[in-house]
Symmetry: C2
């Protein structure tokens, strides 16, 4: 039997709790980060709280092995006295949506091999995609995620803005959006690149710029330059 | 019976030919744009050639109703003497990949109602998503597509670059990329926006900028500003 305590009541904590609960070899308890006085002993304590309270919460935990679940906090930001680790799942968790853990990438880090293997065991019991990622790599991964998630979504918004302004249904663009995302499952983004920028089609680029507002023009120019590698 | 001639031997022309060929009510012929002397008479002639030769090819066609399939060429760029129209499918066509026409948005334009209805009949016989889009709207749609396809793919490339440089598998980001695209099927991009920019989390933004090269920093800053609406 492996005993697990999950600290936190948010989406990550709750989804993890339900997933571990189904595994026969685990005994899992979920506690609120405000009731740390009564924390049970456990083989592993998983802190799933917001980034800015991880240090404080961890400083109050006396259990042997404590990990957090954050993408942007270093392992040594944990302030417990004993062993440390990270159990980071790179995926957005929504409250009401069932999580398919078989598709979630688990990014694991620990101070020693034995602890790493325990994290691996936990991840393997509910998921399939497991990666060893140290704190520096995790930081980089987090900023890469901003590009492919936050910034990509903003480009969708610009597409939507252009449609709205011209009485065009945004639905027309949705199949293209899905295909663009699916394409990189087979092809590297470098090979998947198409469009006027990579063709250096100056006439189309000029025509496009004339159709855009000032802010859109700035973004169009800088991304076109970046595609053309004129840094 | 409706008779159709398709001019061109590229991906769009060939996929369309095969799709129309299966419809009992159509007689369809595909011809090379270099053999326009022998063009058969037809109810509709579809020019599916590259943008810069549409005017020239159309000028040589004597058939009554001529349409092109381009996203970025105006209807009146057609130089045939009689009626004109546009039969534009907003999707990328690859040579070896089967096209699911039921998911392809058809953007149609014609000079009169009867011709428009013929285009609609053609589109309905192989597809489901049909939109009336005039030449100005189609231009705007084309530039919107550059944002959600070409530029989005470039953001994937930046994500991949960051991963490569730090010995991280790009596979870790792929589920997030798929989810980001799927999210806007349910939620507007405006409502789907997350991340440090929209939260105005200055500390994370500063940390991220320190991890990037000059070109990535420029893109990060301009997209962050745009998300924060500081145009």
């Amino acid at each position: 039997m492996i005993s697990i305590v999950i600290v936190g009541k948010g989406n990550v904590a709750t989804h993890l709790y339900h997933a571990f609960f189904k595994v026969d070899a685990f005994i899992v308890t979920q506690i609120n980060s405000r009731t740390l006085e009564n924390i049970p002993k456990a083989d592993i304590t998983i802190i799933a709280v917001s980034d800015d309270v991880i240090a404080e919460v961890s400083s109050k935990i006396k259990n042997d092995f404590v990990v957090h679940t954050s993408g942007s906090v270093a392992m040594n930001s944990l302030k417990n006295k004993q062993r440390k680790g990270v159990f980071y799942m790179l995926q957005t968790f929504s409250k009401d949506k069932i999580v398919d853990f078989s598709k979630v990438p688990f990014c694991l880090e620990a101070e020693n091999k034995q602890d790493y293997q325990l994290l691996e065991k936990l991840a393997n019991s509910i998921g399939k995609k497991i990666y060893s990622i140290n704190s520096m790599q995790r930081k980089k991964l987090h900023v890469a995620a901003v590009f492919v998630n936050n910034f990509t979504n903003h480009l969708y918004k610009i597409g939507n803005d252009i449609c709205k302004k011209n009485n065009i249904s945004f639905d027309i663009l949705k199949p293209l959006i899905q295909e663009t995302a699916l394409k990189i499952e087979q092809l590297s983004p470098e090979k998947a690149q198409t469009g006027p920028a990579i063709r250096n089609d100056k006439r189309t680029i000029k025509n496009h710029l004339n159709l855009l507002d000032k802010n859109q023009q700035k973004i169009y120019k800088i991304l076109t330059k970046s595609i053309q590698n004129e840094n």
